[in-house]
Symmetry: D2
């Protein structure tokens, strides 16, 4: 079973669609049960309409607040119990953006940015290491190219993304002799709801779609017996 | 005037001592007024005892909680009003540590680590850019070698330190044509209270003292007319 | 048409095989015409034996010394003339290894390492930018995880690999508004002839095969309309 | 005794002057004996004119081609024999620049750039590790901010500077338990002969002088008992 966070929209939803159509069992999660259910309904409807795949019981929606440790734990309990087993992959797409010159950023939005990107990642990684470090789990952390380079107008966004990178590079060292592994994904800007919700006014019509990024990422996650793509950036162009 | 955060102990206190003995006007800050006052009392007493420097009115203690935006603003108000002018340098030494394998870290301690290291830095940098971006202010941000490399057992500590680095590298780009500049300092472990308070049990007897680090840092901060040391790591050995 | 350097063995030969079986037109190159021809003969023979693909004229061997600017230019002339057009992709796999503590490395081997890895890359990149910067060419540069991190016992190897990374990151900036793009590939150790020829005695039986790496890389190079995977590391495990 | 390479001009010459005036014994080296001797004559003359320092026998010029392993070895032989002892510090300032878009760079100049920056550094580091790894030698390697970030128009220059960084970061790991240590210096552009000789036409009148950089660097190299500044960037501004 595959668990996808941030699955209500954007890359998370696009990955959910692709893995679902690829016969995988899925747990999709997000803050809002209604939005999750809408994604699930569309998925099941589209898939039924175009193929003969057996869809029942392969897709579960679990609303969760990843800023809350108990909620993270309940999410994984629900995932395990629903499919009576452990996940083989967790793809962490949840996150949000907030931009502007540092002197014009608001305290509330900064705190929210830290919650949505850094706290969520720490709590999820901690929960997964606790549960599955001796399992062949693949944990995919979707960050941003902002985790790799400083950018004017994105200081706090870079801060939280650099933080997640520092976190997972360190946890990789802790997992050195364990079967659990972490894959780091750094996508450039996509044409998704991320931008309007971040408050940044941007013409994203030439950006790659979430579905394009999902298609490349899904291909790249196909490991072989003795190797895997451990880090990848996805750029526009 | 020079403002030093985290001045109740460790590197902050050691820098305060050196700059005080060097005839500078100082605002020292920390959470606890009593501890600050004790540092100040020792400074004034030691200096009076050993030299003929005029000490009155050159040293002010201002207690402040750097996790609180209002408190940060009040700190700078107090500094400006005390010396009737703007600071020429702010040295941000405040911070705390927390260590251990990710799966054994507590939510409360993680939140505190983020507050003490990331939130403080964001709020302070924001306040200083707001007030002084068109002034020749030198802002010195003291991080850690953990901001430069991942370390097993230090995942969340690396996370917050990488975050601060991402923050200031981005803000540097925003300040590109401004006289305000940011200096990044990455010290390795010192023999200070940092370790006992972090919960890490370590024999630090061969580590450099805070005073050694302060002496090297103070020398390195001596800029020339057209240049300055912008980044430095300080290592044991 | 796709041009593959270092195609006589290892990852280069494995990629040649996969692209050949995928109906692509190929120019494969290496220093030794005989070894290249042997790779080509095997490819054509295996493909004829197992499928009905039309094989004639889709595969050309061009021996070239990439340390020599004239030879690099002649290679691209030959490629263009053979297929009467420009390449859509060039995959630069050529390179060699040399290891050991710095004090025991020989001047001759160091010079050879620089020639085989740095000079070749500079001359090839220069030739391709000259010819194709305004073309939609994808240039894939295969380096090593040694380009990303320092390693004891690999000082000069890291040096030349870091050099190539510095080169292509800079050339990327020069190509900013051009259709030509550069993809950076950082593979970990593979189970190939690289190791015996580098003088390093290593049990590589659990390493990924060149064919595994080729299969992952070929998937990852499938770009979409508005995006592509620009950087990837391939790890063992 | 302190050995300074690239001492005929720029930062090397400026450091030689400062250390000479600071009563140190010096070996200065460069390719051209005449230019070295001119630097030495000026040093001795200026120092005699302005102070009562004893100058005889504290300053030796040794011409050496650092691209040649034998010459590097003879340099260190000469240094040891002149002062009947081992150096306590070696400051490697030698190097040259070459710029322009990759497609317009000449093979000869590229080869020279590699020789002057990469080969020299490898051969010097190798010689010093061989001789002094169990000595408390401080090896200072002066690179450039081009070793830290890619730059359009500086692709091969970045390549060789990134190479030196990869080299010394790896050798640091090899020296982990040895008293010999390596200090990495990354200066931004200075107002020196470097620019005219690099072929880059630049107004450097607002750049820091070599003497300013030398003054900051010399201060920063003052280690304490248990610590030292291991890495530093020096920026204009």
């Amino acid at each position: 079973m595959i668990v996808i966070t941030g699955a209500s929209s954007g890359l998370g939803a696009a990955l959910a669609k692709r893995y679902y159509q690829d016969h995988q069992s899925l747990v999709i999660t997000g803050r809002n049960q209604q939005r999750l259910q809408a994604v699930a309904d569309t998925l099941i409807h589209d898939t039924n309409a175009t193929s003969s795949l057996q869809t029942t019981n392969r897709l579960t929606c679990v609303a969760a607040d990843l800023c809350d440790a108990t909620s993270v734990s309940q999410l994984m309990d629900a995932a395990e119990s629903q499919f009576n087993g452990k996940p083989k992959m967790v793809i962490h797409c949840a996150g949000s953006g907030y931009f502007g010159p540092i002197e014009s950023q608001s305290t509330t939005n900064i705190q929210q940015l830290i919650n949505n990107n850094l706290i969520t990642s720490i709590l999820l990684v901690r929960e997964l290491v606790k549960r599955y470090q001796d399992q062949p789990l693949t944990l995919v952390i979707v960050m941003s190219t902002a985790a790799l380079a400083a950018k004017a107008g994105e200081s706090t966004y870079c801060a939280v993304k650099w933080a997640v990178r520092g976190l997972i590079e360190s946890v990789r060292l802790e997992l050195k002799n364990q079967p659990m592994k972490i894959i780091a994904v750094y996508p450039g800007g996509m044409d998704t709801d991320f931008w309007p919700s971040s408050g940044k006014n941007l013409d994203t019509s030439s950006f790659m779609s979430a579905d394009e990024a999902a298609s490349m990422l899904k291909q790249a996650l196909l490991a072989t017996e003795h190797g895997y793509i451990a880090d990848l950036t996805i750029q526009r162009g």
